[in-house]
Subunit: 317 residues, 2 copies
């Protein structure tokens, strides 16, 4: 990765004191542990559904949503809000909304009619445990609740409305859902690296980008900060997907908490199948370097985003 | 039905001129024909998805959404807005959002894992024509688009945010989705009239009520108007469901545009099976009378809502 701290030091030796401040106050693992606890507590509260929700539906929703996992997208929301100078507490509802959308998409994508998976986040998939009908409804309920949370708990109202619009655009027919439809179609039709990047721009990239944008919107970010986060998110999303494809070839099923080797079995387009393993790894590393370069506008406030980007290509799950 | 025009005339003979104004300027059929054309045109625009949406997904969405049908819920939005003194044009986005939610719920409820239907709105169901995976995604995309439309096209922003919250509450785990989950559970467990009413309060009633509320919110309705519309919506929703159950026993499949007789085949709880046909009919008629009584607060401006209520129990589809 580009070390912009060293670059700053070289060109501005008088900035040494400032550099000390720029060193992340918390390690990535400590930060993510604390932030995940806040996210999990909020998700727990949001899905208590104390009135009128049938027990089996509540259980199915919580089975999938509250399973231990990385919480990558909500972490991006919180880190972006902090990078833009906002307390992360104000962005917790947006973080939860993004995680609800992500989890609903996993529940529906795992259905027999789609990717037909039986293991996710180290647990049986929602339909494997509760049946297909309940899994479809659990996904629908999470998708709906995401917008309730944003519209109700983000302030002021014009920011809440803007967050709803951006999340819907990222998650809908021109975003994530469109990407999944294109991905299913590509299984039968094949394609090249451009096709694969176009699929992942929608399927993974759109949700990465909107996670960062929601955090920035809550923090009333300046335009140049939004542009920087867009670039970071686009590159990070693609690097994440390449790593995901690599882990599907070489990963550890237990660590991943989901079945591996399924992409090849289904004849799916993947980066390793199109570029080979080594070039895929190089591509992911370059993207992370470019993603971090985009963060220079934030100086020290984006240190967690930078650390997270490096972690993403080094992860084993 | 209660004829409040006659009542007004009896007690205030000098109100004769006013009574003439209170007579609906348009017949229900002319009104609904014009309003439906506006709704259909807006739904057509909203689902053009000119960029980034795979063709098959766009076609599946439009196949289900643009099929000729009653547009009952969006008509309720527009009529409520007009009853509260607002031009119906301002409520068109809310009307479209409600119809998108309703259509997504039909697509998902028709899936093999749920009610397993092959005919809807006189066309093959979405999964029968495009496959299960695409039907699941088409439903997801419509659900998502409903919130985009509300958040983007309703003004001011605090009304847009409030509309998103109320629609999510009505459609989600404690509303429509919860009702469908309870309905599926009841197939196996049986129940009485109270259970059945509780299911339909969520499954049908919540969407009827929120349709009226969104129209009223857009029109900045007074509290007493909202209360009146709540009562009207609750009674109308139940009357509609009783009539729907009756049509499933005695209706015309061609006119209905969907399979009939399926409730009995699936051992579903229905009003005719619990109360008998005659008592079900009487119950529906009483509910409509009560629904119309709640509208007196509006004087003449709710004449279309009153006419629609009467039509609902007399319909054949």
């Amino acid at each position: 990765m580009v070390s912009r701290y060293v670059t700053l030091l070289d060109s501005h030796p008088t900035h040494l004191d400032r550099l000390m401040v720029q060193t992340p106050a918390l390690s990535l693992s400590t930060y993510t542990e604390e932030a995940r606890a806040e996210i999990d507590a909020a998700l727990e509260r949001y899905t208590a559904f104390e009135t009128e929700c049938p027990d089996v539906l509540r259980e199915a929703i919580r089975h999938s949503l509250l399973a231990p996992c990385k919480r990558l997208r909500p972490l991006l929301v919180l880190m972006a809000a902090e990078a833009c100078g906002c307390d992360r507490g104000a962005a917790i509802p947006a973080a939860c909304a993004v995680e609800m959308i992500h989890t609903y998409s996993l529940i529906h994508d795992d259905l027999p009619a789609m990717d037909d998976d039986d293991l996710r986040r180290g647990r049986p998939t929602c339909h494997a445990k509760y049946g297909e009908a309940t899994a479809i409804l659990a996904g629908d309920a999470l998708l709906t609740e995401a917008f309730r949370v944003l519209a109700n708990d983000i302030a002021p109202a014009h920011v809440a409305a803007r967050c709803c619009v951006e999340l819907a655009e990222a998650a809908g027919a021109s975003g994530m859902v469109g990407g999944q439809a294109a991905d299913l179609a590509a299984e039968f039709q094949g394609g090249d690296v451009q096709d694969l990047e176009a699929i992942h721009r929608r399927k993974t990239g759109a949700m990465f980008r909107v996670s960062l944008r929601l955090g920035a919107l809550v923090a009333k970010a300046a335009d140049e900060q939004l542009v920087a986060l867009d670039t970071y998110g686009r590159k990070l999303g693609l690097a994440f997907q390449i790593t995901d494809d690599l882990l599907d070839v070489r990963g550890d099923e237990h660590a991943m908490g989901k079945r591996i080797g399924k992409d090849a079995d289904h004849g799916k387009l993947t980066f390793p199948s199109l570029l080979g393993i080594e070039e895929s790894q190089q591509r992911a590393a370059s993207l992370i370097e470019e993603a971090c370069s985009a963060l220079t506008v934030f100086e020290s406030s984006a240190s967690q985003l930078e650390a997270l980007a490096c972690h993403i290509v080094e992860r084993n799950r």
